[in-house]
């Protein structure tokens, strides 16, 4: 009896401990996690933690100093490039390892390995897009150049030195929660991260939906509703800028059947475009327009709002370089920033560099196709076997066929949007072996406009509008990237992949990309709008947005003696061009016989200043009303087509304006008065509901959230009191917005300001995890501490010091 009693209890105790030490489903191992010594409590970083220490790192050539200021910005001083990038790798891993790991897993389609089968579709999409294929091609290019090879090797070694010190106790919290461990860093992972950015910025495509719409609509209507470029655009390169004659002949469209068509009667109910637009702003004022007489460069790239932040702020010094800005944890160098001579900023260029080819597959009997028709010849697919490991499940094998154009992303085994089962091959600039890292390497060291140009000729994908200012007083902007010399409309729709006549042709020499130096208007500005006017000799299409560019151009046109404070205000500007131009029309057609509640809302709207400020109730009223009105205009015509495929708000606005001017129905919009009335009734109902919860204040309805990469709300910040929307300069949407705001005045002593919605530490248990968030929400800035290039610094400005010995 006693023996039995003891044995039963022993089993219970052992079982209890076993359960506590093992994850169950998505639940972590509770005992291991709660253990105050090694578990999550080990990540509770003391608020007065001392980050000053000496460390021996054998791979260093010379001693390295890392100074941390009171915001925990790392200022690295190294004797050579190797030591610099080795240290940058070590620092990135020290503060951001888990995020680097997850982002590169996401790029490579290896998320299922750590979260299980729910990520399988995502992983398959990444593999079928050819993400690893592209990264491997780029890695070859990176390793073929001595400078970037040394940079990458040193960086990887630095990351791995840190990883080697880790035990369970010192691992980032997320590893403990998700129950996996970091693996060694490789150069390929850094290349994958760069492709992750390329995908984020050039992955968006409208080829499939535009093909559908072209097939669905009469030609005249399609051309009017989906124009290649909006006629009133204020392009990145100011209209009237003279372009050099093209060195390449402009090709003419081939005569054969070059397009693929949707079958008559296909339903587009599952076609979709992304709804979270990716945007960014940058602009530069020449000294003639500033109070100080020195150029001012501003940049706020808009990306997904996540924690840990995508960016890590850092200053890098070697004897021949002194540069400050934001780096991507996972890759060496600085992406956006300034050095002692120049400043630069990026926005997404949005020219289309991703095209689809319909493939005519040949199947032997009943099995999977093994070859395809190309110029009347049978060509076998190159097959890549993708093994996707799944946590707590069997490894999934996917077979991806490659044609001359690229990987077949959709087929019968993996249908595309609109349930397309025709095999679709993807031809994408991001597949090519390009070395953007070399651009960053040279850009970080550039001292003049010539050196800036030499640097950016290595930035091929993702295409960026690159703004420039220097201490000599020059300002410039380039619509930069590697583009193809296309015939008109090439790649705008799905092309016939069975003929070489549709294949991509010559590369446009990058020196012929649209650019302007010191334009007469005294400023340059880009906000994802159309790149050029129609006089640019090469043909291109893209996914351009005009509202923010209209607003910024309008403000800068009349600006004189500008100060940095005015730049802060413009970056945080929430004036809605859409509202200013449409609300008067909407109010004009508002009928008199509306309810009392409806009258009260209308009165508030009449007094509104068109600013989407956080507490504005009129902003909510307008946004709700506009969305109903927009649906009223297009919902019937585009039945079965998702809202994001309707004619753009820019175009709708222009139609409404011309309707008002002529007061006729000839402008393409039907029943304006009826739509205004019925949409207003729906609006009043919605507003009455919103009033009860969450309230009518714009920020409550919008709910801007900076979410942890796992989407765990415990590590996220929601309901942020910030104004704006995608079409205002301060483009803070629900989970997307300004990921870094920077203002740099190129005076004798560089004056720079910046803020990003996060913090330097990736650890949710650190006080530096989201320490900049409130400033970002409030539109405040930190003055950036740009140390002189020296081995000693003013001790008053340094909070902690790492002394790294070889």
């Amino acid at each position: 009896m006693r023996i039995l009693r003891a044995i039963i209890l022993l089993i219970i105790t052992a079982g209890f401990i076993y359960v506590l030490d093992n994850p169950a489903g998505s639940l972590p191992a509770i005992g291991r996690l709660l253990d105050p010594v090694n578990g999550c409590w080990a990540n509770a970083e003391p608020v007065d933690a001392n980050f000053t220490f000496d460390l021996q790192l054998n791979e260093l050539h010379h001693p390295v100093k890392v100074w941390f200021d009171d915001r925990m910005i790392a200022h690295v001083h190294a004797a050579d490039d190797h030591d610099l990038y080795y240290t940058e790798g070590y620092i990135h891993a020290y503060f951001r390892l888990w995020q680097m790991d997850m982002e590169t897993r996401a790029a490579a389609g290896r998320v299922s390995e750590v979260v299980g089968g729910k990520a399988l579709k995502f992983d398959r999409t990444q593999r079928r897009k050819g993400m690893v294929y592209g990264a491997e091609n780029s890695l070859q290019a990176i390793e073929a150049d001595d400078r970037t090879k040394e940079m990458m090797d040193a960086y990887t070694a630095g990351v791995n030195t840190y990883i080697a010190t880790l035990r369970y106790r010192s691992m980032p919290l997320e590893y403990k929660l998700m129950d996996f461990e970091p693996e060694n860093w490789t150069n390929l992972k850094s290349a994958l991260l760069l492709k992750y950015m390329a995908d984020d910025l050039t992955g968006y495509t409208e080829d499939i939906p535009l093909t559908f719409l072209r097939d669905m609509l009469p030609k005249g209507e399609f051309d009017m509703l989906f124009p290649e470029r909006l006629k009133d655009s204020r392009p990145v390169i100011p209209a009237g800028t003279a372009f050099e004659a093209p060195s390449l002949g402009i090709p003419t469209a081939p005569n054969d059947s070059i397009w693929w068509h949707f079958k008559a009667g296909s339903i587009a109910g599952t076609l979709h475009r992304e709804t979270e637009g990716k945007g960014s702003n940058n602009w530069v004022l020449s000294g003639a327009k500033t109070k100080s007489g020195a150029p001012i460069l501003c940049n706020d790239p808009h990306l997904g709002l996540n924690l840990p932040s995508l960016w890590y702020e850092v200053q890098l010094q070697t004897p021949d370089m002194n540069v400050y800005g934001i780096s991507l944890p996972g890759a060496p160098g600085i992406v956006i920033g300034f050095n002692d001579s120049i400043a630069w900023g990026f926005t997404n260029n949005y020219r289309d560099v991703k095209d689809f080819y319909a493939i005519k597959a040949i199947r032997p009997g009943s099995g999977d196709p093994v070859a395809y028709w190309y110029d009347n010849k049978q060509v076998p697919f190159k097959v890549k076997i993708e093994k996707i490991a799944v946590k707590d499940g069997d490894t999934v094998i996917d077979k991806v066929n490659y044609t001359v154009q690229g990987p077949v992303i959709y087929d019968e085994n993996f249908p595309g949007p609109g349930d397309i089962k025709t095999p679709m091959a993807l031809c994408w600039m991001a597949h090519r072996g390009t070395n953007e890292l070399l651009c960053l390497y040279l850009l970080n060291r550039a001292h003049s406009y010539t050196e800036f140009m030499d640097a950016i000729m290595h930035f091929e994908c993702p295409g960026q509008n690159m703004a420039y200012a220097d201490k000599a007083g020059n300002i410039a902007i380039w619509g930069q990237g590697q583009f193809i010399n296309k015939w008109k409309e090439q790649g705008r729709y799905i092309m016939n992949g069975a003929t070489s006549t549709t294949a991509w042709g010559d590369l446009i020499p990058m020196r012929e990309n649209p650019h302007v130096l010191n334009p007469a208007q005294g400023f340059v500005c880009s906000a994802n709008q159309t790149v050029t006017d129609s006089t640019y000799p090469y043909w291109y299409n893209g996914y351009f947005y005009e509202f923010r560019a209209w607003r910024i151009n309008h403000v800068l046109d009349s600006m004189r003696a500008a100060t940095v404070e005015e730049m802060f205000a413009l970056q945080n500007d929430t004036y809605s061009i859409l509202a200013a131009n449409t609300l008067p029309v909407m109010l004009k057609y508002l009928p008199a016989d509306i309810s009392d509640a409806g009258k009260a809302y209308a009165d508030e709207l009449k007094g509104w200043d068109y600013r989407l400020t956080p507490e504005s109730k009129a902003a909510t009223m307008y946004q709700v009303w506009w969305s109903y009105l927009y649906a009223g205009f297009w919902g019937k015509r585009f039945k079965n087509v998702p809202e994001s495929l309707w004619p753009s708000p820019e175009l709708t606005m222009e139609m409404l304006q011309s309707y008002l001017a002529n007061d006729t129905a000839k402008t393409g919009l039907q029943h304006v008065a009826d739509n205004v009335k019925s949409s207003y009734n729906e609006t009043v109902d919605s507003l009455n509901k919103l009033k009860k919860a969450p309230g009518l204040e714009w920020y409550k309805v919008k709910n801007t959230t900076v979410a942890h990469l796992t989407k765990l709300s415990a590590f996220s910040y929601d309901d942020l009191k910030i104004g704006g929307w995608e079409n205002t300069v301060n483009a803070a949407k629900s989970n997307h917005g300004p990921s870094w705001r920077m203002v740099v005045q190129m005076s004798k002593q560089t004056e720079a300001y910046g803020v990003y919605p996060g913090g330097q530490s990736g650890n949710p248990g650190s006080k530096y995890y989201a320490s900049f968030l409130q400033y970002w929400v409030e539109g405040k800035y930190y003055k950036l501490l740009f140390f002189p290039n020296d081995t000693r610094q003013d001790a008053k400005q340094i909070k902690y010091t790492w002394t790294l010995h070889p």
Binding site: T13, F16, I17, D21, L34, N38, W41, E45, A714
Partner: protein, 113 residues
Amino acid sequence: MRVLISILLIALFSVFAEQHWAWWSIAFIAFLLPLLLNLKPAAAFLAGFGGIGLFWAVTAVVKDNANEHILSQKMAVLFHLPNYFLFIVVTVLIGALVGGLSGLTGSYIRRMF
């Protein structure tokens, strides 16, 4: 008295154990001590429960104070607990239960013979 001393000894040895081995090494301490000291079942449970509970409580509270509850508040949300203090309580209870059960097991095994 023996229980009190056992609590302190278990806490002390566990501190040492966790510096070198996985978290569940505490179970062996809480198991061995009552077995060697031949504690009665109730006393053994109490010794293990109190010993590990004390060690985990002191460690968690010290770390939490130094951290100004930044982490514990977030973990409380993650565990659907109303406040950080309850997250500390849950932490301590888990450790104490492992200790108590281990102590009881130690005592019973001694009593097998």
